[in-house]
Amino acid sequence: MTEFSFWDILRNLLLAARWTVVLSLVSFIGGGIVGAALLFLRIGGRRGIQLLSRGYIQLFQGTPLLMQLFLAFFGLGLFGIDVPAWLAACVALVLWTAAFLAEIWRGCVESIAKGQWEASASLGMGYLQQMRYVILPQALKVAVPPTVGFSVQVVKGTALTSIIGFVELSKAGSIVTNATFQPFTVYGLVALIYFALCWPLSKSSQLLERKLNVAHRNH
């Protein structure tokens, strides 16, 4: 039997952590794009479309991410595609992230005073123009801290993709544990790596919130 040094364990975990980072970035960017589309439908579309996007958000916020991963994994398979784990992971995480981001951003848009909508409407702006020139520039400032805060949830969410067989940090942790029989060290290290990824995001979200709050008070 080969012996594994502490360095071997750490190196393997760090190599796998790259995939956690990649998957987080894909989910966050993809989720941001889908979420923005969802936001436009949720607050501006026709009544039926509004209800539909609201239903979508409720569905994804009211069910476990793990179930969504399973459904993406087996659901895509129904179309006769041989689904690799990374594809199911990306699809589920993007859709899940989109639902949460759309809801966060909706809160930010709704925090903009109603008079702003009315003022821009009185200038003859259409819905898209109102959003582009008046509402979004203001809402963006409010949206930054909670969006950065949510990115922590995305990074943590990627841990679940290990269950459908995507080899990222958590899965690597299980594999290394099975090889070394040192669960305490390995899972401790895995936790610390996640912490190193998430903590800067949490902290910057808090700092941004404080900073932007100060700006708000000076108005």
């Binding site: 793990l66 006769g80 922590v152 401790g188 996640y194």
Partner: protein
């Protein structure tokens, strides 16, 4: 798409599903009660407690909030036995949920405590109450009332997150779904059904917590 959906397995698998639902409900009930209790204790320490204990609690909260629940669960179930601490799957699942919710609810409840006007503490002191008495009799209930919606959402999030305890073979709803689909080979239908059950549980839990809040805090919030 030439796939034919088949839900015929549902009737014979019902007992397994029901057992899974029972375990999931049991997990979240125990987790919520003890998790929120732990959260209140930690919030007290962080806002008003002994100075030397504050960094300890702050570290606990930051560690838990910045690592995935799955890893916390694995650490408790697989990691702790090497220190001689062994427990059953259900105990480990419960413990992980309590520890997890404790950290999140600590931050939420602390926000509620910090929103308490200073005058309330001073009023308590002027009635010769100890700081702890002021916290317990004057500050806590309005603070909980203020943050009740946020706390309720967090409890629902923990309930949905509990799906991963199936990974240490705690026999919750997801475990039941995995078991059923390994027998009937109808993975998609099985997960659709269990996803809908989770959705129903989440809606139910939200209503239940709203009702509980209405019962616990009958008076209007003092501002």
């Amino acid at each position: 798409m030439t796939y034919h959906f088949d839900f015929g397995w549902l009737i014979e698998s019902l007992p397994v599903l029901l057992k899974g639902i029972r375990i999931t409900v049991q997990l979240i009930l125990i987790g919520a009660v003890f998790g929120v209790a732990l959260g209140i204790a930690c919030a007290w320490v962080r806002a008003l407690g002994p100075k030397w204990l504050r960094p300890v609690v702050a570290t606990y909260v930051e560690l838990i909030r910045n690592t995935p629940f799955l890893i916390q669960l694995f650490f408790i179930f697989f990691g702790l036995p090497s220190l001689g601490i062994r427990m059953s799957e259900l105990t480990a699942a419960n413990l992980a949920m309590i520890v997890n919710l404790g950290a999140y609810s600590c931050e939420i409840i602390r926000a509620g405590i910090q929103a308490t006007p200073r005058g309330q503490f001073e009023a308590g002191a002027s009635l010769a109450m100890t700081p702890f008495q002021t916290f317990w009799y004057v500050v806590l209930v309005p603070a909980l009332q203020r943050i009740w919606p946020a706390l309720s959402s967090q409890i629902v999030i923990v309930m949905l997150g509990s799906a991963v305890v199936s990974q240490i073979a705690a026999e919750d709803l997801t475990f039941a779904a995995n078991f059923i689909q390994s027998r009937n080979f109808r993975a998609f239908e099985t997960y659709i059904v269990s996803t809908l059950i989770y959705l129903a549980l989440a809606i139910l839990l939200r209503q239940l917590l709203a009702g509980l809040g209405w019962m616990l805090f009958p008076r209007k919030a003092s501002r």
